[in-house]
């Protein structure tokens, strides 16, 4: 291989990266909230997805469109468990990139494209981890664990992760120790759709405080340590000191399984709980409530 061929290949690669940024950039905006600059992207006409963690808790939100025009944005809803926030702007003429869920192999090249002051920003690296679904520290269900080995500027949080084929595979956010994580497309579609419809992500509520215990005679359960007056648990006749050992007949092995059972679709459902009370076995029917908004 001659030196010229190598140089041509490097230039081709460079030009390809430039094209990839060019594909994503028209749909990526800068997001300004109180003392915070981050990125976001058009998900649907007039709707922008951004990183919840980077968005200020209060005050006005504005977005800077490609080219530098700044317009006001309204918060549609935010879900801190999956780090997704949805904004609405009075502009539906701007392009949005379709989110895709192709296989994301470890070692594949990826770009993190954000925006700052009306211009795109880019960082480049490899997919350093690609694994199955996981639960965020705030108990949010994330469809895949994707990490990128790249150094991303603060303002690019909430931008898009782009693969080598120019496909948007998700939103870039910061994880532990400033590592770059991707909130995958499937999670964004699921959560943003609910945010658009309801303005928040409902969660199931029992109104009970639990501690994991080993049950007399073997197995595990969760002991009811406190009962919220008038809560769903109290209404179902659950008392302090009861140990819940089954949920619709399934043994409860850890608190995680309870959290899973209290997802957005659980509100209003009636479940059968198997209890141990004073050594006796008992069943109660409980109608799951909606967790008070915090």
């Amino acid at each position: 291989m001659t030196e010229n061929t190598v140089l041509t290949q490097v230039q081709d690669l460079s030009a390809a990266f430039v094209r990839l940024v060019g594909i994503a950039a028209p749909g990526i905006v800068g997001v300004q909230s109180h003392r915070s600059h981050s990125s976001g992207f058009f998900w649907r006409p007039g709707l922008i997805v951004t990183a919840d963690e980077a968005l200020s808790e209060e005050g006005d939100v504005a977005v800077t469109l490609p080219g530098g025009e700044s317009i006001a944005a309204r918060l549609v809803g935010r879900d801190h468990t999956t780090d997704i926030a949805l904004l609405r702007v009075d502009r539906s003429d701007l392009p949005h990139l379709r989110l895709e869920s192709p296989p994301v192999p470890v070692g594949a090249l990826a770009l993190a494209v954000g925006a700052q002051d009306g211009s795109p920003t880019a960082a480049f690296g490899v997919v350093s981890r690609s694994a199955g679904p996981w639960w965020s520290l705030r108990s949010g269900e994330i469809d895949a664990r994707i990490e990128l080995d790249l150094r991303m500027r603060q303002s690019a949080e909430g931008g898009l992760a782009i693969d080598a084929a120019g496909r948007a595979i998700g939103m870039t956010v910061f994880g532990p120790r400033h590592r770059v994580l991707v909130i995958p497309s499937a999670t964004i579609e699921r959560v943003a759709t609910r945010l658009e419809k309801y303005g928040h992500i409902p969660r199931g509520y029992l109104g009970l405080g639990f501690q994991l215990v080993a049950v007399e005679g073997g197995g595990r359960g969760v002991m009811v340590m406190n009962v919220e007056p008038q809560g769903p648990g109290a209404k179902a006749g659950v008392h302090q000191g009861d140990i819940i050992v089954t949920w619709n007949g399934e043994p409860i092995r850890h608190v995680r399984s309870l959290l899973r059972a209290l997802g957005p679709d659980s509100v209003g459902q009636t479940v059968t709980l198997g209890l141990r009370r004073g050594g006796e076995t008992k069943e109660v029917r409980l109608t799951i409530g909606a967790r008070p908004r915090t």
Binding site: H80, R138, H178, R203, G209, H254, T294
Partner: protein
């Protein structure tokens, strides 16, 4: 230069803060470095199962596992959002340092979770 930090929590906070400084890199034990932070032996002898958490971090851990936002955590504990964010960040880094990212599992072992 080596700087010995006896308090593990303090060392973790310093490491977490320094990790975010642009142009500054934390190096491994065998690499040469301009500045070295050294933990006392006693402090570093903790096991995986027993992450040393401050009482405040334990409170924050439980609220995190319940799915609370930084704002809700701040309100519940009577601290500023900024301080809540700081505790959450330190906690995330601490759990990550030992390869654990499951707040619920930790919180459930140590306290009461409101669901």
């Amino acid at each position: 230069m080596a700087l010995k930090v006896e308090d593990r929590a303090l060392a973790d906070r310093l490491a977490a803060l320094l990790a975010k400084v642009p142009g500054l890199r934390l190096v491994g034990a065998s690499e040469s470095a301009d500045i070295v932070l050294v933990l006392s032996t006693a402090a570093s002898a903790c096991t995986d199962r027993d992450v040393p958490l401050t009482p405040r971090e334990l409170e924050v851990l439980t609220l995190l596992a319940e799915g609370m936002s930084n704002k809700a955590i701040a309100r519940r504990l009577g601290i500023s959002i900024h301080t809540a964010k700081f505790h959450v960040g330190a906690l995330i880094d601490k759990l990550d340092a030992i390869g654990r990212t499951d707040a619920v599992a930790h919180a459930a072992r140590r306290g009461v979770i409101q669901l």
